[in-house]
């Protein structure tokens, strides 16, 4: 602090002022060592492990290649044709869409509803917030295994409930008609707490005076929510849906312990499809084509979503 005052104090004198400016310029010249030392580590890692592999995926996707030696057998767009011919891939696309749909229709309203409850001044609100957020911090693999047990047709909780009512225990995960709905329930269980936290943050940033004004005007609870809170939470809703979309396109860890994509590929997602058909069989060209399709979907969604829905945020 004292140095600042002396510096500004002496700056009236031309010589010292000149001295100050040269020192400043010396600092500016000192920027090259910083750039040379600070940027390259991040730049190198990012280029080598993120950007180059993405470029290579585009290149490899035109080859029939098992990953050994060099890619030599150019087959043009054949891999892409094969991908779209796979019924498992179409399942994966539909499933990813369903996850997004469920999160818009069930998860977001549920999260918003709970957020409005745990932001009221009631005892234990913080405790409930913690409990609801807990599944989100658990690893997807662990959550998947826990629910693999819950759904187990012999020892699981569902089987136990069915037996107490004298029913034959169902094994939902082995039934291709219902397996994916069982998976969807786990997704909601795992992630609603995260979305609830987004809405809590959104609710807390709301201008309280607007709600008080509505109170004075005699608005009922529902009217207040529908006409005041909801419109003001628009940006949080969009953010929440954005994360649901991103999460859906990455979903892998939880599917593997639950179903591994089965039965008969009814619970594949794009990433589990890439894994079981590209990585497991070491079909580098085919898997890369799936990766490129996933990449195009991600980038298109990110851009269009940002442009259309989030331009005001």
């Amino acid at each position: 602090m004292s140095q600042i005052t002396t510096a500004s104090g002496v700056s009236a004198r031309p010589t010292s002022f000149l001295g100050l400016t040269t020192r400043r310029r010396a600092q500016m010249r000192g920027k090259w060592p910083v750039l040379v030392l600070f940027l390259p580590p991040a730049l190198l890692l990012f280029t080598v492990f993120v950007i180059l592999p993405m470029g290579e995926a585009a290149w490899y996707s035109f080859f029939n290649w098992n990953g050994y030696g060099l890619p030599e057998q150019w087959i043009g767009w054949k891999n892409y044709e094969l991908v779209f011919k796979q019924s498992a891939f179409r399942n994966a696309l539909v499933n990813n869409g369903l996850i997004i749909l469920i999160s818009i229709c069930i998860q977001v309203p549920l999260a918003m509803w709970l957020a409005t409850m745990v932001t009221k001044s009631i005892k234990g609100a913080t405790f409930f917030r913690l409990i609801f957020f807990l599944p989100y911090v658990l690893a997807d693999v662990a959550a998947g295994l826990i629910w693999r047990f819950v759904y187990d047709g012999e020892f699981g909780l569902v089987a136990n409930i069915a037996r107490t009512f004298g029913q034959t225990p169902p094994f939902w995960l082995a039934d291709k008609q219902v397996a994916f709905y069982a998976v969807l329930a786990v997704i909601v269980w795992k992630y609603f707490g995260f979305h609830m936290m987004l809405f809590i943050a959104g609710l807390q940033s709301l201008d309280k005076s607007v709600l008080e004004a509505a109170d004075i005007d005699g608005a009922t609870g529902w009217q207040k929510f529908y006409r005041v809170t909801l419109p003001l939470l628009g940006s949080t809703v969009r953010l929440s849906i954005f994360f649901a979309v991103v999460g859906s396109l990455q979903l892998f860890d939880m599917i593997m312990p639950l179903t591994g994509g089965g039965p008969s590929n009814s619970t594949q997602t794009l990433v589990t499809f890439l894994f079981s058909f590209g990585v497991m069989r070491m079909q580098v060209g085919f898997g890369s084509a799936v990766g490129v399709i996933l990449f195009i979907i991600c980038v298109t969604l990110a851009f269009s979503y940002k442009r259309v829905f989030m331009k005001n945020d």
């Binding site: 400043r24 910083v34 492990f49 993120v50 609801f132 662990a142 020892f155 936290m197 580098v284």
Partner: protein, 292 residues
């Protein structure tokens, strides 16, 4: 203002200062919250209790108190080498990932925040491209690259890609934080003759503890829970982090659910303990990072 609409019910609710709720609303609220909380907690509790059961008990009495407490399910795992080895592997990978992410991201973000140079906007956007797609999209070329670098089946084969994929978000968080530090600090440091390095080390970083915590928590949780990268890069079981180890264990003991449940409980226990001990920081870190 709220006094106009509803009189205070009791001292407790009045003291909280929020809107007052009548008894009926409160009952309704608690009923809803407890039902949802039960749906969250019951699978977790039955998992933990299941680890104490015999398999027969699990088949008929999964919800009740264990008829017979079998401590050896947990004991055998706690005294086995594999559990501690997997926890150690996960910890090592996570610590390396967090350290390198913090170091490289803060350094790069510092140049974006404070050094004017040709192409800085372009480079920043270059890093932000990484935010748009998941690591899985390029997993096969990534595997081939790691193999060709000779890093397959090493911790680095997992750590380096994890750091690389975390850089986009981390640099963005750091840069915004550095930028919002008061400008006067920068001027004052220059007047005092401090260089960029001293400014970075003695002023920027010590003032950035909150964002260091945020980035650290995001990358630690991500690494601790990560599954697909180690699954593809590691071969030997002695190097497996716990999410891989738990799947191997499930494979070995197939339907011995009482053992698998004990194993699941012990592997998620550290997460649960740390979460409840540091809940404020963890929730803030994981959601603040997302909102920004």
């Amino acid at each position: 203002m709220t006094e106009l609409t509803a009189p205070p019910i009791d001292a407790a609710t009045a003291a909280t200062g929020g809107r007052r709720l009548n008894v009926k609303t409160q009952t309704y609220l608690y009923a809803c919250l407890i039902i949802v909380a039960a749906i969250v907690v019951v699978p977790l509790l039955t998992t933990a209790f299941g680890g104490f059961r015999t398999i027969g008990d699990l088949r008929g009495n999964a919800f009740g108190i264990p008829r017979e407490w079998i401590w050896s399910n947990y004991g055998d795992i706690l005294f086995s080498q594999r559990y501690w080895l997997q926890m150690g592997n996960s910890l090592l990978i996570a610590v390396l990932t967090v350290f390198l992410t913090l170091l490289f991201a803060s350094m790069a973000a510092f140049t974006f925040a404070h050094v004017k140079f040709f192409g800085s906007d372009f480079l920043l956007n270059y890093f932000l491209v990484g935010l748009m797609f998941p690591a899985a999209t390029a997993i096969l070329p990534l595997f081939i690259r790691i193999r060709d670098l000779g890093l397959l089946d090493t911790y680095w084969g997992v750590v380096l890609p994890q750091v690389a994929f975390g850089l986009g978000m981390s640099i963005l968080l750091f840069r915004n934080y550095f930028r919002n530090l008061p400008n006067e600090l920068f001027d004052a440091a220059f007047v005092d003759g401090a260089g960029y390095f001293r400014f970075f080390w003695h002023i920027s970083l010590p003032l950035s503890r909150p964002i260091i915590a945020t980035v650290g928590i995001i990358s630690f949780v991500g690494s601790w829970n990560s599954y697909i990268l180690p699954l593809i890069m590691l071969n030997s079981e002695s190097k497996y982090p716990w999410p891989l180890g738990i799947m191997v264990y499930k494979g070995e003991f197939a339907t011995d659910w009482q053992l698998i449940l004990a194993f699941i409980t012990l592997t998620i226990l550290p997460t649960v303990i740390v979460f409840f001990a540091a809940q404020k920081h963890i929730i803030a870190g994981l959601t603040a990072g997302a909102v920004k």
